[in-house]
Symmetry: C3
Subunit: 479 residues, 3 copies
């Protein structure tokens, strides 16, 4: 009986959630007909001060699609560098994003004014962008734990983490009024430390350890597909949710510059960490992206281009340093095993981003630095704006600090709790002894993926084919 629960657990859990989602969508979700009416009247209204929410179907949608590529191709293939986990990395990525987008859309809906007033909430392209961003936090956490959770555990992780992350976002933006334009705090810092905390209490044994955690030549190239699409579209991610147009424009240009200088400093420091001056593949795949993370929180607020270049350069240095020095120490001292080096790509540069957002608020949070009332789009609670706020540069900087601490503490507590939940032996576990008797299951090969040839293993002809295939795989393992 236990055995059936183990085999059909994924089906049961995913069925429960999906039916639950449908029920909630049925009760509460409506199209944003206000936005649509507005669309019908004039698609290209000015961007200042109208009360009607604008949805640019033709102009916001391409930005959404860039982010959609990052989430699915970027993160999916970035995690495909492990020799035997390429397919499952991309697939589990797709499973989790499909789960999180629905759940995050519902959860955010419940926090809207519209839900409070009318009992239903609205969905539009803006909500799709927000849902995709919720996915990123979960995918970052997945990068820490890759190879150590079963699909059921990943689903539960996504459920727990999204719940906390949407709450944290609500606190930072609607209560603390923090500027976190590119979502470095609520997405990168939160996702990374949530995962690391879950790793502390979670299953230590790593499926991949059996296999020396190897990458091979082609899996590195697949991983590079992920890196490139993340690199290319990072300016979109940091800019897509900015309003008005000048903040969006600054976010784009600042991120573009930070990506470039971060890449140069990544190559620079990487060659210094090797005794022969060579570059290390993992630095190129990961640290070149740190510039986009580090500039995130303040990309909309930085008013001098060279600041972005400097921030990018520092981010590359920190990230390579993390890979070359810190990761091993974390592993040895704290027994935290970080499969994809997430701490060096999202954790440290995310914290840097929080610090920069504090400095930027201290130095530049003055009305004259931004066009018209632009400052109130960046710091909504600044003195003199519509929200009747009373902040100056100094107090805004304190709130930025508070936001960083909230994100960090919530991530660690949430991660620890989630790690404990995932350890409950009720759920499928990677090292389940009942399952490890089954050859090629869970512990070996593509993690819990059947090959195409295993649809009806009772048929002998196909079994032979399988054996043939396995012999090839064994061969590949040896060499």
């Amino acid at each position: 009986m236990t055995s059936i629960l183990q085999r059909r657990q994924f089906a049961l859990v995913s069925l429960f959630f999906q039916l639950f989602f449908i029920f909630l969508f049925y009760l509460f979700a409506r199209f944003d007909t206000d936005a649509e009416r507005d669309l019908m009247m004039n698609e290209s209204d000015g961007s200042n001060g109208s009360n009607v929410k604008r949805v640019f179907v033709n102009t916001d949608f391409p930005l959404f699609q860039d982010i959609h590529v990052m989430v699915h191709v970027g993160f999916g293939f970035l995690m495909a560098f492990l020799k035997r986990y390429g397919f499952s990395a991309v697939s589990v990525n797709l499973l989790l994003t499909s789960f999180v987008t629905q759940y995050a859309m519902l959860l955010r809906g419940f926090l809207t004014q519209s839900f409070h007033d009318s009992g239903t909430f609205r969905v539009s392209i803006n909500e799709m962008v927000a849902a995709d961003i919720s996915c990123v936090a979960v995918l970052i956490t997945m990068g820490v734990l890759l190879g150590r959770l079963t699909p059921v555990q990943f689903l539960l992780l996504a459920f727990c983490e999204t719940t906390v992350s949407v709450m944290v976002e609500h606190v930072l933006f609607n209560i603390l009024h923090v500027n976190d334009g590119g979502r470095s705090l609520v997405m990168h810092v939160f996702g990374a430390y949530f995962g690391l905390a879950a790793a502390v209490v979670g299953n230590k044994r790593n499926v991949m350890e059996m296999d020396a955690e190897g990458s091979i030549y082609h899996s590195d190239l697949f991983s590079m597909i992920g890196t490139m699409f993340l690199w290319i579209f990072f300016p979109t991610m940091n800019a897509a949710i900015q309003e008005p147009a000048d903040a969006r424009h600054r976010a784009i240009v600042n991120t573009y510059l930070a990506m470039a200088s971060c890449t140069i400093s990544t190559f620079l420091i990487s060659s210094l960490t090797d005794h022969l001056g060579r570059f290390n593949m993992i630095h190129i795949q990961s640290s070149t992206l740190a510039g986009g993370v580090a500039i995130g929180s303040a990309a909309n607020a930085i008013v001098y281009p060279y600041h972005a270049v400097v921030v990018g350069m520092i981010a590359g240095i920190i990230s390579v340093f993390g890979h070359a020095v810190l990761s091993k120490r974390l592993e040895k001292r704290f027994n935290i095993y970080d499969t994809c080096g997430v701490h060096n790509l999202h954790g440290l540069p995310g914290l840097l981003s929080g610090i920069i957002s504090i400095l930027v608020a201290l130095l530049y949070a003055y009305k004259d630095n931004y066009e018209k009332n632009g400052i109130y789009h960046i710091y909504p609670y600044f003195a003199g704006g519509e929200l009747q706020g009373d902040r100056d540069a100094y107090s805004q900087a304190l709130y930025q600090l508070a936001g960083m601490i909230v994100a960090l503490v919530a991530a660690i507590l949430g991660g620890l709790l989630t790690g404990l939940v995932l350890r409950i032996r009720l759920w499928n576990q990677v090292d389940d002894p009942a399952l490890s008797l089954e050859p090629n299951y869970y512990a070996k090969q593509e993690f819990s993926f059947a090959s195409k040839y295993m649809e009806t293993p009772q048929e002998n002809a196909e079994m032979d084919l399988m054996n043939h295939r396995n012999s090839r795989n064994n061969f590949e393992e040896i060499y």
Copy 2:
């Protein structure tokens, strides 16, 4: 002599068609200067009711590019999962799209009012979108027949199929006034059943059968590149040709939701079809896309988000069921061999889409459900619109049914006829005995692709290299 005809047949056929295309473009194709004049005046005109056709260079073009990525990267790499056909799948894909875009643009031009009035037709970005969509039908058919046709046969197939598909489209949209927003009927249903019908009468013997039709690890990852780009841009495909903006907006959000829930149900059912609860790679690669197909016809018309979630869920169930149960029966009983499982991805979910478009018309075709006169953009012949139509919800539903039957019947008849044409021994055939004597040609390796090292095989040095290469390939075949 026969031999020269066989070797140079492709060159002759493609030369004939290309010169013919140039001649027709010379005689009849002109730039859309009306649209351009309009562009010069005001790029951002409102979307309601102006008589001048609008071409949004800056806003429609990104949507076109999303579809362009789907057609070339999406379909190309999706079909790259076969061990030895990756390169030829991507290449033949490119050949056929280049052929079909030109031909479809001409053919559609001949059906326009402008051609009727002035003897010339106009080309603009809208015509490029339409041409790319014509490619999709052919690429779906190519998926059924992959590995069983020579390049010449594929060109002839593209010619025949595009001729029929443009006619069918004309009948559905301009005569029957059916709503098929995402083109599920004229693209997915048509392409799939056209291919299956051609497979019934076509060459049964499959090049790939010799090789156990195997995929290998990396070819599965390449295939996943195709899956991901199709998955990501499906909302664009279902929305790009929608007018006005609110229909486009609904099409985007509905497709987004259907993709997510379809992915969850694909994983769910896939794990149920395996005795150990694992996921099957081919389901992940293919059935996760069924949600976009199934929502297609009615994505612009569905007014409650949860409908989209339910449709996506059903699509995933049907598609995995097709892969797990139906494909084998089709093969055994009807001797229809469907290389890429097209029936389960495009055929069945396409029929589901037709049924849903009937239900939606029955349930929601009332004026109040859509903003302003939005209903006339979805159902142009509805009572009270500009076209002086007289339909109500019930009669529109009947026309939707008629449209589905027309698409299905035309596909089957067209496919049977085309299959017979392709069997004429005049054309190069895959199992041509005269060719099979040639080692490494046609029947082995990349289908009719020379390797880079075979440019001048008379040179000994290069021949040695080749042998070396072949020995490696043989090695790969054994293991």
Copy 3:
């Protein structure tokens, strides 16, 4: 001591440049607040005649992102076809683009009116597009020299070439007032002949010669990823910098048609060059793109669609001819080794583009052929425009010829000079005898990339792993 200079040379050179860039950005670069103020007022102003520079954050940005994908994924993976250089091709690509974007942005800034007037220059999305286009010239040159330069040499090459290319661009557009819409002259012709000239004087010995310059099956598929993204987004590249909207529209449609017909003629001629009528992989990977290059210069000016179809067809013929016949002769007679066949993809079709731009000026440079004052956007110095020019069709054609000659001569002289600079023994060289003693360094494996497992080679455990890995690699080399 020499040894330390060799090992740390890259770090020193890149540090110097990056600090220098930061210093210049600090002194001179400012955000384009004029554009931003304009944005705040009205994002969707008409496109005719306003003096304020427009920056379409929401509409130009997606076009920029298409080009960004071409530069990083397109060129990066296109060059990944060499068996052991896939990772380094993509990585060095990223290094050079990060370097060139910063440098080109600075250099172009110094040539602006704004810098002349105020001592600072502005950065915006337009400058990002221009910077990305400067990258393309360097990446084309990289394609010629792939495998024969160390990273330090590539950085110096990028520095020299960008300096010359920005100057050439300035001469062609601001002094000669040449129409080179898709930048075929200043990007494709310049990049190709710069590289070929550098190859004449540069290091003849090729790292890859040791290895028979082989590609393998999967590296060909990776390369095809690059081809596809370049193919898909070529219309964007030729159109993104066009003003006003009708010229942009023509550039898009013309390039789309030229890509299609070029692909057909590539397959056609490729099958003729093989004695069995098969297609050659390298033609498919490269020559299918020649249509976009050949139409580039005049894509905005061609007013009949069939012209574009004809130009594409000729481009395919020339490019395949170059691969099949010319490349070998260049190698034998002039000892020019062109790793990626750049001459056939960018050189010859680029020259064809120059010739076509001359013919188009002769035949169509009349005011009536373009809407309103459209002709002055294409040929700014045409008689009757704002610049008080005095040209007619004939004199404009002569200037087009002059522009082509300037680009060609500057490329060859600049390339020769740069080749000599790179030969100075101070810089790391690929065949450095001091380094060749080091196993797996420079001359073998991924060019100057350490594997992930080599971070601390002093540790024995990891060394064992390495040896294990090497043994696998050796194995792969044998078979």
